[in-house]
C-alpha cells in the first residue's frame, strides 16, 4: 500500500491535523511503510472468525439511571483555554 500526497492531505484533514507541505512526502513514506507492515495480516485466514473487541468478550455493564456526578463547572472551566459566563468560547461558527 503506497499513499500519495493527496491521500495524506485527505487523511490529515479527516484527523483535523494541519500539515506543512514539506512534511507531506515524509508522512506519505512513513504511513506507507506502516501500512506495508499491516498488510502482513492479509496472509491470515479469518473466515468464520468472530471479531474480538474485548478479551473476556464482556458486554457493556449497565448501571441504575441515577445522577452520580456533581456539578464542577467552575473547576473544569478553570483549565479551559477561553470561557465566558460559564460557556466555552470558540471562533465564530456562523457568519
Amino acid at each position: 500500500m503506497s499513499l500519495t500526497a493527496s491521500d495524506v492531505k485527505k487523511i490529515s484533514h479527516l484527523a483535523r491535523l494541519a500539515i506543512d507541505e514539506a512534511d507531506i512526502e515524509p508522512y506519505a513514506n512513513n504511513l506507507s511503510n506502516i501500512l506495508g507492515l499491516v498488510e502482513q495480516m492479509d496472509a491470515a485466514d479469518v473466515a468464520d472468525i468472530e471479531p474480538m473487541a474485548n478479551p473476556q468478550d464482556a458486554t457493556q455493564r449497565l448501571r441504575d439511571d441515577i445522577v452520580t456526578e456533581v456539578n464542577q463547572r467552575e473547576k473544569f472551566q478553570a483549565i479551559a483555554p477561553n470561557t465566558e459566563a460559564g460557556l466555552y468560547l470558540v471562533p465564530k461558527v456562523l457568519e
Binding site: 491535523l17 495480516m41 491470515a44 479469518v46 472468525i49 483555554p81 470558540v90
Partner: protein, 485 residues
C-alpha cells in the same frame, strides 16, 4: 534506605528506625541529586509528598497504618492527579492541571503512599524508547547513552536507579514489561480489566492496562493488591475478587508446567538475550518445573493487527483533544476548523500524529472491513493460540524484548524498526493476558528480562513463579553504578 524492599521499608517505619518524612526526604534528595542525568521525572511534588508523609507518620504512630503506609511512590504522568500537572508527556497537555484523581491514584493515596512526582514517558504512551516525550528522552541508568525502553521509561529508570521504591506504569503493547526488562527491574501488567482505567489517559482503550514497577515480585504483589479491583467508573473493570497476592508467593514450583513457544526464539532474537533466557529456564528446571515446548502459530500476526487496532483506537480517543475545553489551543485561529487543525498539529508530536493518521485511515469510509474488522478477527486467533496453550501449561515463558537497551537515536527515525522491537509483548495485550518481566542474567553488562505470561486473572501464580526465581537468584538486587549505591 533506598536499597530496601517495600516489606523492609514498612518494617523500618513501624520499628521507628526512620519516619516516613525522613524516608520521603531521602528519596526527594536522591531525585534532586541524580535525576538530571536520567530525566525520569516530569514533575516532582515535594510539598505534596512531605505533607502525605507527615500524615502517614501520624497513622503509623496511631497504629492505623496499612502495609504500604508511608512508603513513597511515583506515578507515570498518564495518571490524572488532582491539582497536579498531568501532561502525558505531550505539549498538548503541558498546561493541563487535572481536576480529578485517577482511581489508581485514589487507591495508592488511600494506602498511605506519599507521591514524589510524575514520571516521564513516551508522548501519550506511544513508543518503545521514551524518546517521544515533549520533555526530552529518558536515559537508561545502566548506560545513559541508551534508552530505558518505553513507554513507561521514566518510571522504570527511576525505580532502577532507586530514586523511588515503586512506580506505576501502563502497558498497551509492552510499555511496562519492555522498560522493566531494559532497566533490570520487575514489572507486571495485569489481566485487562484488573486495574481500573478511570483517569488513566486513554491511548488504546481495549488494550491499555495499569500496573506496577518495583525491585522484585514480592514488592509488586503488595502494590498490585492495593491497586487492583472493581471500579464502577471503568466500564471494562472486572468484578472478580482480588486475590491476596502476597499470600501465594511461597508456593513451591514443583511440577509447574512452563510452556516455551518456539516462535519467541526465532530470527531477530539477540544471541546474548537468548542465552540469558535459556539459563533462566534451566534455573526453573532446578526449582522443579517442567519445560513444555508449545506453539503460538499466530505470533507473527500480532504486530500487524496491533498497528491497526492501537492507532484506530488512539485516533478516536485523541479526537477529544481539540483545543476547546482544555489543553493546547493555537494562537489567533481564523475559524473553528483552523483552531482544531493547528491546535492539534502544534500540540502533538510526530509519532502521535503518525498513529492518529494511520488510525484515521484504517477507520475511514471503505477501509473499515479491510483493516479494523480484519485486525479484530486476527486478534481472536492470537487469543485462541494462548487459550489452547494454557490447556496444557501453567505459564508461558520467553524473552520480553529481542535485544537489550538500544542506543538513543538508533531507531527514532524509523518507526517500523521501532515497532518490531515489540514483537514478544504485543500479543499479550491483544489477548488481554497478565504478564511480568523479571530480571535474569545480563547480556554484555545490560539487563535482560524474562517474560512470564499467565492465564486470565492468574496474577497470583505469576507473582509466585517470579518470586521463587528471585529467591534463588539475585539479579533483581543488582543496581546500576553511579547512583550512590
Amino acid at each position: 534506605m533506598h536499597n530496601k524492599s517495600l516489606t523492609e521499608l514498612a518494617a523500618g517505619l513501624r520499628a521507628g528506625e526512620f519516619t516516613s518524612v525522613e524516608l520521603t526526604q531521602h528519596f526527594l534528595d536522591r531525585i534532586e541529586k541524580y535525576d538530571e542525568s536520567l530525566n525520569s521525572f516530569i514533575t516532582v511534588t515535594p510539598e505534596i509528598a512531605l505533607a502525605q508523609a507527615a500524615e502517614a507518620d501520624a497513622q503509623i504512630a496511631a497504629g492505623t497504618a496499612g502495609p504500604l503506609t508511608g512508603i513513597p511512590m511515583a506515578l507515570k504522568d498518564i495518571f490524572c492527579t488532582d491539582g497536579v500537572k498531568t501532561s502525558c508527556a505531550s505539549k498538548m497537555l503541558d498546561n493541563f492541571i487535572s481536576p480529578y484523581n485517577a482511581t489508581v491514584v485514589e487507591k495508592l493515596k488511600a494506602a498511605g503512599m506519599p507521591m514524589l512526582g510524575k514520571t516521564n514517558m513516551d508522548e501519550f504512551a506511544m513508543g518503545s524508547s521514551n524518546e517521544s516525550s515533549y520533555y526530552g528522552a529518558v536515559k537508561n541508568p545502566w548506560d545513559t547513552e541508551r534508552v530505558p525502553g518505553g513507554s513507561s521509561g521514566g518510571s522504570a529508570a527511576a525505580v532502577a536507579a532507586r530514586l523511588v521504591p515503586m512506580a506505576t506504569g501502563t502497558d498497551t503493547g509492552g510499555s511496562i514489561r519492555q522498560p522493566a526488562s531494559l532497566t533490570g527491574i520487575t514489572g507486571i501488567k495485569p489481566t485487562y480489566g484488573r486495574v481500573s482505567r478511570f483517569g488513566m489517559i486513554a491511548y488504546a482503550s481495549s488494550l491499555d492496562q495499569g500496573g506496577v514497577f518495583a525491585r522484585d515480585a514480592a514488592d509488586c504483589a503488595l502494590v498490585l493488591g492495593a491497586m487492583a479491583g472493581f471500579d464502577e467508573k471503568d466500564s471494562t473493570s472486572s468484578e472478580r475478587e482480588v486475590e491476596d497476592y502476597a499470600a501465594g508467593l511461597d508456593q513451591s514450583l514443583q511440577g509447574l508446567r512452563i510452556g516455551v513457544p518456539a516462535e519467541y526464539f526465532g530470527e531477530g532474537l539477540d544471541e546474548g538475550v537468548a542465552a540469558s533466557i535459556k539459563s533462566a529456564l534451566d534455573k526453573y528446571k532446578e526449582l522443579g518445573a517442567e519445560i513444555v515446548e508449545i506453539e503460538l502459530p499466530n505470533t507473527g500476526l500480532a504486530i500487524p493487527s496491533y498497528y491497526v487496532i492501537a492507532p484506530a483506537e488512539c485516533s478516536a480517543n485523541l479526537s477529544r483533544l481539540d483545543g476547546v475545553r482544555y489543553g493546547h489551543r493555537c494562537e489567533d485561529p481564523v475559524d473553528l476548523e483552523d483552531m482544531y487543525k493547528r491546535s492539534r498539529a502544534e500540540g502533538f508530536g510526530s509519532e502521535v500524529k503518525r498513529r492518529i493518521m494511520v488510525g484515521t485511515y484504517a477507520l475511514s469510509a471503505g477501509y473499515y472491513d479491510a483493516y479494523y474488522l480484519k485486525a479484530q478477527k486476527v486478534r481472536r486467533k492470537i487469543k485462541d493460540d494462548f487459550v489452547q496453550a494454557f490447556e496444557n501449561v501453567d505459564v508461558i515463558m520467553g524473552p520480553v524484548s529481542p535485544t537489550t537497551a538500544f542506543k538513543l537515536g538508533e531507531k527514532s527515525d524509523d518507526p517500523v524498526s521501532m515497532y518490531l522491537s515489540d514483537i514478544y509483548t504485543l500479543a499479550v495485550n491483544l489477548a488481554g493476558l497478565p504478564a511480568i518481566s523479571v530480571p535474569v542474567e545480563p547480556a554484555e553488562g545490560l539487563p535482560v528480562g524474562l517474560q512470564i505470561i499467565g492465564n486470565y486473572f492468574d496474577e497470583s501464580r505469576l507473582l509466585n513463579v517470579a518470586h521463587q526465581f528471585q529467591q534463588a537468584t539475585d539479579w533483581h538486587k543488582q543496581s546500576p553504578e553511579g547512583f550512590g549505591g
